[in-house]
Symmetry: C2
Subunit: 217 residues, 2 copies
């Protein structure tokens, strides 16, 4: 009988900030962040929307928790090991996390917040770069570049682009017009459409690590 299941979810464990954020992550993973609302989130927890405010400051607080949830899921680098290997593994792990939770990049844009997990993460990356011999300035350069590369690919992957003309024709007309006016786009569009972001990302990551290594010499 459905009443029992309902009561079970309602009385099982008490509401908690962590439970709310876990539910928000799960909701965003399956439905997208843009459709996450306090009311719907409350519903998945068997609770009214206003109850959430007893454990969470507001919606932005939930966003901050979701961002930190993702950072907490990335395995940290080990400052003792070979830095090129550690940084490469870290980049790939970060990309994996952004692939698993594609909404992370937009949330980071919405709120440039740093929770405990993000701070621990950043601290370990700096430690790894420092112990590899990078000065503070160069470590900062390297971090900025690695972060941009990772965010950039995650960004492009998340915004699965479609070619849209703003004039309203049917699809065939559109493609013909595009092929006439923009021959290079028409020829390379298939490559863009079926892009393997993981391998593309690794390709660029190696170039960057190589560039940083020569800077270190």
């Amino acid at each position: 009988m459905p009443y029992d299941a309902d009561m079970a979810t309602r009385t099982r464990e008490p509401l908690t900030r962590d439970r709310i954020i876990d539910a928000a992550v799960a909701f965003a993973d399956t439905n997208g962040v843009e459709s996450l609302s306090m009311r719907k989130l409350g519903h998945t927890l068997g609770v009214e929307a206003m109850s959430l405010y007893n454990h969470v400051a507001n919606k932005d607080d939930i966003y901050d928790g979701m961002i930190d949830y993702v950072f907490a899921s990335i395995p940290l680098p080990d400052p003792g090991e070979d830095w090129q290997e550690e940084i490469r593994r870290l980049g790939m792990a970060g990309m994996d996390a952004f692939t698993a939770h594609p909404w992370t990049v937009s949330l980071l844009m919405l709120r440039g917040s740093f929770g405990p997990a993000a701070l621990r993460f950043t601290d370990r990356v700096f430690a790894t770069l420092n112990s590899a011999g990078f000065s503070d300035e160069d470590a900062h350069h390297a971090w900025q570049m690695l972060a941009s590369h990772t965010m950039g690919y995650a960004f492009q992957q998340a915004s699965n682009p479609g070619i849209v003309h703003h004039h309203e024709h049917d699809l065939v007309d559109q493609l013909e017009r595009v092929a006439d006016d923009y021959p290079n786009v028409a020829r390379l569009a298939p490559l863009l459409a079926q892009c393997e972001y993981g391998t593309e990302f690794a390709f660029g990551l190696d170039i960057i690590i190589g560039g940083l290594a020569t800077k270190l010499d």
Copy 2:
């Protein structure tokens, strides 16, 4: 008398898709995209919100127009000239456009749309890379990497990050805690805070162009 000015803006030029998008760009530049609403946008044009729907499909259509507005403002590369110089100039121009309109990255994430200006832009970049000797596959790699680098830096610049602990202490306690638990972050935070994204971006851009050049050999 204010009525005259009011009537002037109301009767001067008729409403147009372009006028609406120009107003939306101006509004987002000064107030931020997140606070752009149909009602407020109508108000700046001296018109009710519902009138906009006579010239624009919906709010997403306005977003698409804003994205294309930014792409139209970027000077195109010249396929005949030296590709390294052209690509470098293009990257800097793109970064300038994203700096002038910081909301572009979030809109691109929201809607991966390609209007006419974006298509023309992309086509010229591919033409430049092809005439430099890159194969279609390598041109695609290069484009992906350059776009990621540019978006990544624009992204980081737009999400001016602040260090926020989710526990609620006063600022001094926060900084002390951070200095204890995350010494590397505490030491490098000033560098992150006063980061010159333009020069950082150029630094990484040269590394990438260098890497692409050796790939071309």
